[in-house]
Assembly symmetry: C2
Homo-oligomer: 354 residues x 2
């Protein structure tokens, strides 16, 4: 039993709860990039400096009231499976999980806040909240940033703002994003138009696991690209305005499907249930895609009221490879995972009767 396994049996607070518009905006996330003055950027650090920074940050975390009770994991204590597990929970990035070298992460017990040490920057601090709550999430991050700054001296230039290893993060160092669930825009084939419009506004749309990942399960993570030239409030305001429009588009598409293509629409959802309840082997991409339709079925009230969006959110997590292996208590190859995943889904969806 690893300390990390405390997270296994329930999803993060932001997946357990519902927030504003959380049928479409699954979560809001704010991330800050910070570097500690007097040290080179991550790529240039020597071993002792890495250790020094990991210790410095640990001290700062312990001094932060908002991070009270946070776990602090040094990567040499974690297995590859542990890191994969944290990645699947969106607590660390793909790069942080996979790249070699000493690293660490601080995580609050409710998983609202995580702080990666020695990712692309010395510190990547992020917070998640359920629903469309960028400003509230920003407040959490901002308070922690202030608390950390009492202990740590961040690299800052009066002209440029916070310095960062990558020019796109210089300035506020802030990235705001919303994880959006847009199945109806996908089903009505409007999603590409929306994504093109976002690109013109200098916003990025990525998949479930951030940069370079594909949009599976109709999930799109929409975020600002620029961190320089606008203050935090402006970045968040302009992202919020756009997200609000995308929410409206998805709502209209849902209404259209419900009014004009009800039969076909419900048929697709029920078939997804049928496949999830019958498959004996299923890959995680397919399962995620089908669960995404179940989400929509909940929205359309096709299922018993005691089967909730949060039940599906938990399944999104549990069917991932590392979660599945932690759940089964053993290493599984890809085919065995497909079987275990199918077994789990059949069991967990027993409430849904065809």
């Amino acid at each position: 039993m690893n300390e990390i396994d405390v997270f296994l049996n329930q999803p993060a607070e932001w997946l357990r709860t519902a927030g504003a518009n959380s049928d479409i905006v699954v979560s809001s996330r704010i991330r800050l990039a910070r570097n500690i003055a007097g040290y080179p950027f991550v790529q240039k650090l020597v071993h002792e400096q890495q250790d020094k920074i990991i210790n410095l940050v640990e001290g700062a975390v312990k001094n932060s009231a908002r991070l009270k009770g946070a776990y602090y994991f040094r990567y040499h204590h974690l297995t590859e499976l542990d890191r994969q597990f944290l990645l699947e929970r969106h607590l660390i990035s793909r790069e942080h999980a996979n790249e070699k070298g000493e690293k660490a992460v601080a995580i609050t017990p409710n998983e609202v806040v995580s702080l990666m040490v020695l990712e692309e920057d010395h510190i990547r601090l992020q917070a998640f909240q359920a629903g469309f709550t960028l400003l509230e999430t920003w407040r959490i991050v901002s308070q922690i940033d202030d608390e950390l700054e009492k202990t740590l001296d961040f690299s800052f230039s009066p002209e440029l703002g916070y310095l960062s290893a990558c020019p796109t993060n210089v300035g506020t160092g802030l990235r705001a994003s919303c994880m959006m669930h847009l199945p109806s825009l996908v089903l009505t084939k409007q999603v590409h138009k929306v994504l093109q419009a976002l690109a013109k506004l200098n916003l990025a749309a990525r998949g479930l696991y951030g940069e370079g990942t594909q949009a599976i399960g109709n999930f799109f993570q929409i975020s600002n690209q620029m961190t320089l030239g606008q203050n935090e409030q402006e970045i968040i305001d302009s992202l919020e305005r756009v997200i609000r429009q995308v929410v409206e588009h998805e709502r209209e598409a849902r209404q259209y499907l419900r009014d004009k293509r009800k039969g076909k629409f419900e048929d697709q959802i029920w078939r997804a249930v049928g496949t999830l309840k019958s498959a004996r082997m299923i890959a995680s991409a397919e399962a995620t895609q089908l669960l995404s339709l179940i989400h929509l079925g909940i929205h359309l009230e096709l299922f018993p009221a005691d089967f909730t969006r949060q039940d599906v959110n938990l399944l999104f997590l549990l069917i991932q490879p590392a979660h599945l292996q932690k759940l089964m208590g053993k290493t599984l190859n890809s085919q065995d995972r497909d079987i275990a995943r199918a077994d789990l889904l059949r069991q967990k969806l027993s409430k849904l009767t065809l």
Copy 2:
């Protein structure tokens, strides 16, 4: 209530019973082409001659002991839906169902024998039996042929044999065929090789509904092409030899799938059940394809013993457009049929628990 509707609630005898190898050879069919001497071929008949032939054949049918109790339907008494219904039951051909002009059909109550009047020839006599039973089926047809010949004078040439409107039917006028269910040869991608070998042997492979129809649901109707130069026994013997080999190939493929790809194979079958039990709209081609996998599931003993191959055979029939409309007692457009079909399947497959 039409007289034809007596057939609605149970399938033909050959679908209700099991014969030799009937997990692979669904049915054996023998068809004879005959024309009445003193009349031109069908294309050249004038109206009075059509009536005359229809009446002549009716008389001969009434005189046949083996056709005792047979229904005799004149087409001007039938609706388009009725003819479609007979086509779906393999009692008449697509051409006989769809082409204009006065026609008739005699059908025994157990649907083992049907006799189309004024199809491509004056008479097309056919019999069906469950399983791999060509010789027995030939005996039925031959006896009826002898009985009819007591009343009717068939066009016959001492050199060529029985004359026919189409040269491919001259001679014996006999076509022997087996309806084969070859899902494992399809799943293992060997079926094309088998079909190519059949073509080299001058055998034809067609779909469920004869000439020009596609192989849906992994059903292939394999028949001789030549009717001249071999006697009836030789035609049947040579077809039997080939069918026996195809049966062996399919058995080997089933064994292979069961031994080597059990997980994937069963997964495909269970997913078919899942889709059939969950869909709210389903087209007949898709439903036929999925039911074909259920057949295989019965073979693998995945389902309760009281759910039999004959239950699936009945469903193959009931989901067809004309059957569905007769069952619902009203005309349905394509979309409404897809909905009614899905409802029917969900109800009839309630025995199969995922």
